[in-house]
């Protein structure tokens, strides 16, 4: 276990009080921009580690945008039943989507053309995961089998991962690509060796279906969550449970994800909340609300955004980046929140019916999928001129959440939970 990842960050509350004007602003690297893509190797190092506060002038040169303007870019149709998950490949070239019609479709991320349809599962597919080299896709199906697909040939690799006793519900590839962790309806978390296609460990994790699993960016920790309301953090090498996160309400957790910097986990719960946990302290740091999630196991994802669209390319220098969280909603929207201020950046009218999966590509393109059998790709555009900088009169994206002082929680929910773990 790397202790460097476990450095407890400064308390967000203290930071909040340090912004006297009440305007939510960028408050510290570890909460905001540090939530970068952990898998992105080229990321400048100052974004990964907390930056000293002695460069505020440069930092605040560009103010953080209050709104984002993602517009529908593509709509991918082809699945015959609801699309359970959508994932960008780590290299950003492909979009994989899996559906209840037992097929996986690989789409070209730029053109949106269907590249391949992977068939072979006998039942609907709930979850997919890309290998870090973007060459292999793992899929977990209701037929209890995890298949690995060679993207170049569209054929399954010869040895499927067989061992679960019920539907495979969640999957994650280790950052090195040598392990797969899977959660299933049989309440177990399996750790698989990809090469031998054998389960290495079975973690007696939960007492309900394991709805989400994830690896931390260096692969040393595994997070799992379950409908029993628990989020557990495991040590990959010893498979010891290091931490159990429970919220007082104990709502079913449907998805868990490590933040790109590996210091937090983001969990979706069926009380229509997204929670950001500091798993070291066992403390809920942020709660994001404004969407509806009461029944479905909906994904959430982290993304980063810059002040201006496409500015980085022109200026040639790295822009300041902030992190956002995007999650689906059961009313067909996908909601984007700023990580630190928790304000809603945009709501995408994405689908008819439930938005089941969201993913953010390395270039911050968003993909959503839903029960309406379609996949939508969203690209960020500059804000329309007339609304740029002003609040309210926005045509494309209505903003629901009012801008308030950070110390008063949005929608009146307790923030920075008082639960003692």
């Amino acid at each position: 276990m790397t202790t460097s990842n476990l450095d407890p960050p400064r308390s967000p509350k203290r930071k909040r009080s340090s912004s006297p004007n009440g305007i939510p602003q960028y408050d510290g690297a570890d909460d905001g921009a540090a939530l970068q893509y952990g898998y992105d190797e080229e990321m400048p190092s100052e974004l990964q580690s907390p930056v000293e506060d002695d460069t505020p002038a440069k930092r605040q040169r560009l103010e953080r945008p209050r709104r984002l303007n993602y517009v529908p870019h593509l709509t991918l149709r082809g699945h015959k039943r609801g699309v359970a998950a959508v994932k960008f490949s780590p290299d950003g070239r492909w979009i994989a989507s899996c559906s209840a019609d037992a097929t996986i479709k690989i789409w070209d991320a730029t053109s949106g053309t269907l590249s391949r349809t992977l068939e072979g599962h006998l039942a609907g597919i709930s979850t997919i995961a890309w290998s870090p080299d973007s060459k292999v896709l793992a899929s977990g199906s209701d037929d209890k089998i995890i298949r690995l697909w060679d993207i170049s040939t569209g054929k399954p690799l010869p040895n499927p991962l067989i061992g679960h006793h019920n539907y495979v519900y969640s999957l994650a590839f280790s950052p090195k690509g040598n392990m797969i962790v899977s959660g299933s309806y049989d309440e177990a978390v399996f750790l698989w060796d990809v090469r031998t296609a054998r389960p290495m460990r079975s973690l007696p994790a939960h007492s309900d279906p394991v709805s989400g699993v994830d690896f931390v960016r260096d692969g040393t920790l595994i997070a799992s969550c379950s409908s029993d309301g628990l989020i557990r953090i495991w040590d990959t090498s010893t498979t010891q449970c290091l931490k159990t996160l429970v919220h007082e309400d104990n709502a079913a957790v449907t998805s868990v994800r490590f933040s790109p910097n590996g210091k937090y986990v983001l969990a979706c719960t069926l009380d229509s909340c997204l929670r950001l946990w500091n798993y070291v302290d066992g403390r809920c740091v942020k709660t994001y609300q404004g969407h509806k999630n009461e029944k479905y196991s909906i994904n959430a994802a982290f993304g980063a955004y810059t002040a201006e669209v496409g500015l980085a390319e022109f200026e040639g220098e790295e822009q300041e980046r902030w992190a956002f969280v995007v999650g689906g909603s059961e009313d067909g929207r996908a909601v984007l929140w700023d990580v630190s201020s928790k304000e809603v950046l945009q709501e995408l009218e994405a689908h008819e019916g439930v938005v089941l999966g969201v993913d953010v590509a390395p270039d911050t393109t968003i993909a959503t999928c839903g029960l309406d059998k379609t996949i939508r790709i969203w690209k960020r555009q500059p804000l329309p001129l007339e609304t740029n900088g002003t609040h309210g009169a926005e045509v494309v994206v209505p903003i629901m959440a009012p801008l308030v002082d950070d110390s008063t929680p949005v929608n009146g929910t307790p923030v920075g939970a008082q639960d003692d773990g």
Binding site: A84, S99, G124, D142, K144, N166, V168, E187, A197, G229
Partner: protein
């Protein structure tokens, strides 16, 4: 004079420890042990030449002197002027004269007085230590002086002595001397007699004196003078020439110079350091130290032990980096022994001699050959051998085989068999021999299937290359599946590899030989290659039986009825007829087959499936009749056999299967002609029958495919339209031949076949079939699959991927084990639902295991109720024991409480709290918690616990009922998976959920080994867990929770205790 002196380097193991001088000495009384108070005094400062008698005289004024010890220099023999005077208890002047008193008085009165001209110093010296100290100092000084003098080489002996005497430290040089008269003449030695008397009491101090003496030898080293001698010896210790070369096979440890510097002084320390090991020698040279050990196994072990324990250990400030050579010097080469040299030499000699002889032999042989060279001779020899072989072969084939054949003919032994009640062997033989006459090559010589239906490696080109296929899971699975596929695709089955001859029975060999003799055509050969075993799975078509036209000679050799197949006799007794069959055969089914007309029989046989008992009986009957008829034919019209055959042939065509399918033009010409004839001859009635059958088939197909998926039927329909393109027609192995005994289907459809794409492709053999199939699916709506070929291929791919096989299968390719399809397709699109325990029990592996075990037990109990009775008895006995236990517990407890109360009265009040606190803790047993098979965590015994013993107290927050209810709801909401609430009294509940001891981890069992008792300690109730039975180490502790079924609870809690009398549920 007592010139007794001690050697200073005497070794002693005792530790020398200076007594703490700030402590007042103990008073000597009767309890004290040891030498007691001082009885001797040391005197220094007197003139060394004072005779001992003078001294004695001086000191005897204070008591009776036991001995006077005047110390001499051991080197020079001169007196040192230090004396030890020992007193003894005596009787003098009518007074008791105590030795101790005397010594004290001597010290007090004579100290500072003069003896002769010198002032003496008198000190009591209990153990002679002071005396010794003085002596040492004096000796040292003397030695120094002497060394100095030696260097100056002016050393008159008396001077030395004088100097020595002045050099004694105690008296100052200018001190006035004692009375010279007393020192003028040396005293005579006291007689030995009186000295012997006090020897007894003195023995003790003497012995003890040795104790401090030993250790003194050690500090002596650094003091200078004494080490002089060892140093000289020590420098010699460092050997000049390297020791390593001198060590041969002796195990040794080398401590290199680098880790411990080579110093001879280290050797004794090293020796001491390694005294725990049985070393032989410690030597050192410039490279370092060599510690050699005994040259034996023991020595080697000792070496190793020493190395393992002392390597890198500290020696002073150094670290002993050791190098262990337990087999001695690694470079040491033993010179070869003379015996071995001799042996090698001899061996070489023998070898050379043999070689030489061989060469000589060769030469002789060559010469002989040259002499006897005659080609005619050689040719004759060759011919003779050939001729003999030929004759033998002819005898075998022409004479022996016909005889064997005749004698083995089963028809000849019919009477015998009947007598013995044996079955007609034609049944078994048929498989091999029938083929002999099977003109129609019913199997294409190279089909893509191995004989057991495994896909051959080249038969699955569509699958990705799988380098791991041979090992691991996949391979095993394939093997496991193999039996299921034995029925797969008979037409595609490949002929069995030609079996090796020697593995065959004699009978088969004969046939083979026979076959080889003849100029048989190819087809026969191909059919012969069939394996006998593989026929079981493949229903023989009637055509392959015995109606094949054959050569005339062979008829005489092997009568045709010999190769007839009779179906298995052991069929199931009950017969349920299909609706279609009933419709078709109606009245016939009620009759006994024997009463039916031949035509009717044929109808029955054709209609009913082969598995049907009735059909079987009919077939047998038909067969018998036909046989009789044929026998007649054979015997009556022998000459017209050929004609007869043709008649037979035509007859057969009429009877031959209504399900003859068309085959592609792989047939030879003659076949085609026959086929045409057959086609023409199909009667109207037969076509009708066929129609019926196909419809039935279609219906069946629909029924079969319904559960697969709703779309499948439609898919099949769609596929049919495109089927021909996809289908590989060449694979059919329909037997194109005729039967003459009874009608048989040309193609036996496997009714168990799963009608997926492979299944349909297998069933539909020609255009005709396809037309019927199309008609059957006419009303089904077509399903839109964009490209039928691709679609069909994909479906096959998926099937192959999931079942590991290709081609038609008999088991549904599906999801193994528990599977409940989600209505929306997948788990994630379905949403989160509460899963009831009941449902979970169906798929959670542990629960399944426990449940299965329970079901097995229950089944067993049902099978023999005696076990149940037994179990009941056992439980009853257990209960009895447990009541007895509780009673005895109570008794024990009361006793304990009384005991404590009693103690409390006697002790102060502050101890009382501690006792109350501890009284339960005291008796608890060692336990630990760990993951449990029953539920979550469990508690395990870490020691053996006897029956009735208290194990642990159930500790937790004591709350009221109301609070407990609230908490329970909260815990449930929070998803605390386990219940840790324990009702103690009516309104007292112990909640161990958040605060509590590990007793809460004890799980429920229907067959518990513990019981929870509520006992009163100090007036407060406590929950205590007692052992119901003897519990072994690492056994899980369990007790019966005795949950009540709550009203309105929908979900029962399943019990996973797995015990013999498990009730299955907690509530």
């Amino acid at each position: 004079m007592s010139g007794q002196c001690r050697t200073k380097d005497r070794l002693s193991k005792a530790i020398w420890r200076q007594a703490p001088y700030n402590l007042p000495p103990y008073k000597v009384d009767r309890h004290s042990i040891g030498p007691g108070e001082a009885q001797q005094v040391v005197v220094v400062g007197f003139d060394p030449f004072i005779p001992e008698s003078t001294l004695k005289l001086n000191f005897s004024t204070y008591g009776s002197v036991a001995s006077v010890q005047h110390k001499t220099d051991p080197e020079t023999g001169s007196f040192l002027g230090i004396a030890l005077i020992k007193y003894r208890d005596g009787y003098r002047d009518g007074l008791d004269c105590n030795a101790v008193e005397s010594a004290k008085r001597a010290e007090a009165e004579l100290g500072g007085q003069r003896i002769g001209v010198h002032t003496v110093k008198v000190e009591v010296d209990r153990e002679g230590r002071r005396f010794k100290k003085y002596v040492e100092q004096a000796l040292k000084k003397a030695k120094d002086e002497r060394a100095k003098e030696r260097r100056a080489s002016i050393a008159p002996a008396p001077k030395v002595v004088a100097k020595t005497s002045t050099g004694s430290p105690a008296p100052p040089l200018n001190a006035p001397k004692g009375p010279s008269g007393k020192s003028s003449a040396p005293a005579v030695r006291p007689p030995e007699g009186p000295r012997a008397v006090p020897e007894g009491p003195r023995a003790v101090p003497e012995g003890l004196r040795a104790v401090p003496e030993g250790p003194r030898a050690v500090p002596e080293g650094p003091r200078g003078a004494p080490p002089a001698q060892p140093r000289a010896a020590g420098s010699a210790l460092i050997e000049e020439e390297p020791i390593l070369s001198k060590i041969k096979r002796k195990p040794y440890i080398h401590i290199p110079h680098a880790s411990v510097p080579v110093l001879h002084t280290t050797v004794p320390h090293l020796k001491k350091r390694l005294k725990a090991y049985d070393w032989r020698e410690v030597r050192l040279d410039k490279t370092g130290y060599y510690i050699t050990f005994e040259d034996s196994k023991r020595g080697e072990d000792e070496t190793e032990r020493c190395f393992s324990e002392c390597n890198q250990a500290a020696l002073f400030t150094y670290k002993m980096g050791m190098e262990c050579q337990k087999y001695g010097n690694p470079d040491y080469e033993r010179s070869p022994s003379p015996e071995r040299v001799m042996a090698a030499k001899q061996k070489r000699e023998v070898y050379e001699r043999l070689k030489r002889e061989d060469e000589e032999d060769m030469e002789i042989e060559k010469k002989n050959r040259a002499a006897n060279l005659d080609p005619v001779h050689g040719a004759l020899e060759k011919l003779r051998v050939e001729l003999r072989d030929r004759i033998m072969g002819d005898i075998k084939t022409r004479i022996a085989i016909p005889i064997f054949h005749d004698s083995l003919d089963p028809a000849k032994h019919a009477d015998k068999r009947r007598k013995l009640g044996l079955r007609d062997p034609s049944d078994n033989e048929n498989k091999g021999t029938a083929l002999l006459f099977n003109k129609a090559g019913d199997t294409p010589p190279h089909a893509s299937k191995s004989r057991h239906g495994y896909p051959l490696s080249h038969s699955k080109p569509l699958r990705p290359h799988d380098p791991h296929n041979q090992r691991g899971r996949k391979g095993e699975r394939e093997v496991q599946r193999a039996p299921a596929n034995a029925f797969v695709d008979e037409r595609r089955r490949r002929p069995a590899p030609r079996p090796s001859q020697h593995a065959r029975g004699l009978h088969f060999k004969l046939q083979q030989m026979y076959d080889d003799e003849e100029d048989s055509d190819d087809e026969r050969r191909t059919s012969l290659t069939r394996d006998t075993e593989d026929q079981e799975s493949r229903p023989l078509s009637r055509a392959s039986r015995n109606s094949t036209p054959f050569d005339m000679e062979s008829v005489t050799d092997t009568p045709k009825h010999k190769r007839r197949k009779v179906e298995e006799w052991d069929e199931e007794k009950k017969e349920v007829f299909d609706a279609t069959h009933k419709q078709l055969l109606g009245h016939l089914l009620n009759k006994d087959p024997q009463d039916l007309a031949t035509r009717e029989l044929e109808q029955v046989v054709n209609t009913l499936p082969r598995a049907s008992v009735y059909g079987e009986r009919a077939r047998t009957e038909l067969y018998l009749r036909q046989r009789y008829q044929r026998d007649d034919d054979l015997f009556n019209i022998k000459n017209e056999q050929k004609n007869n055959l043709i008649a037979d042939f035509i007859d057969d065509v009429e009877m031959a299967g209504r399900e003859q399918a068309s085959t592609p033009a792989t047939e030879i010409d003659g076949k085609a002609v026959k086929e045409k004839a057959k086609r023409k001859r199909k009667t109207k009635k037969q076509i009708l029958e066929e129609q019926e059958a196909l419809k039935a088939e279609a219906r069946q197909a629909k029924a079969a495919s319904k559960p697969v998926a709703q779309e499948t039927v439609a898919k099949i329909e769609q596929k049919e339209l495109e089927l021909e393109a996809v289908e590989e027609l060449a694979k059919t192995d329909v037997d194109w031949a005729f039967t003459h005994d009874k009608p048989r289907r040309t193609v036996e459809h496997d009714r168990d076949l799963i009608l997926d794409i492979d299944g349909w492709q297998d069933v539909i053999k020609d255009d005709e079939d396809l037309a019927w199939a199309k008609r059957a699916f006419a009303e089904e709506p077509a399903y839109d699959v964009s490209d039928a070929k691709t679609w069909a291929w994909k479906q096959k791919e998926i099937k192959a991927l999931n079942s590991g096989t290709q081609g038609p299968v008999q088991s549904e390719t599906g999801i193994e084990g528990y599977y409940v399809p989600n209505p929306t397709g997948s788990a994630r699109t379905e949403g989160v639902k509460k899963i009831f325990n009941e449902e979970k029990s169906k798929y959670l592996p542990h629960r399944i295991k426990v449940q299965r075990a329970r079901e097995e037990r229950q089944a067993q109990e049902k099978a023999n109720p005696g076990v149940v009775v037994e179990a009941v008895k056992i439980t009853a006995a257990d209960k009895l024991a447990s009541t007895a236990t509780s009673r005895s517990n109570r008794v024990n407890n009361r006793r304990l409480v009384n005991d404590i109360n009693l103690q409390k009265q006697t002790l102060a009040t502050d101890a009382d709290v501690a006792i109350r606190f501890n009284q339960l803790k005291k008796r608890r047993k060692l336990v630990k918690f760990d993951r449990s098979a029953i539920h979550g965590w469990g508690l395990y015994a870490e020691e053996n616990i006897g029956q009735n013993e208290m194990i642990i107290e159930y500790v937790g927050e004591k709350v009221r009922q109301k609070v407990a209810d609230m908490r329970e709801i909260r815990y449930e909401k929070q998803g605390v998976g386990s219940s840790y609430l324990f009702r103690m009294l009516d309104d007292e509940i112990v909640d161990a959920t958040k605060k509590g001891g590990i007793a809460r981890f004890i799980n429920h069992s229907c067959d518990p080994n513990c019981t929870a008792k509520i006992i009163k300690v100090e007036g407060t109730p406590r929950i205590v867990i007692y052992a119901l039975k003897d519990i072994g180490t690492n056994d899980e502790l369990t007790y019966d929770y005795k949950f009540e079924r709550e009203y309105g609870s929908t979900d029962r809690i399943p019990c996973l205790c797995g015990s013999a009398n498990c009730k299955g549920f907690l509530n």
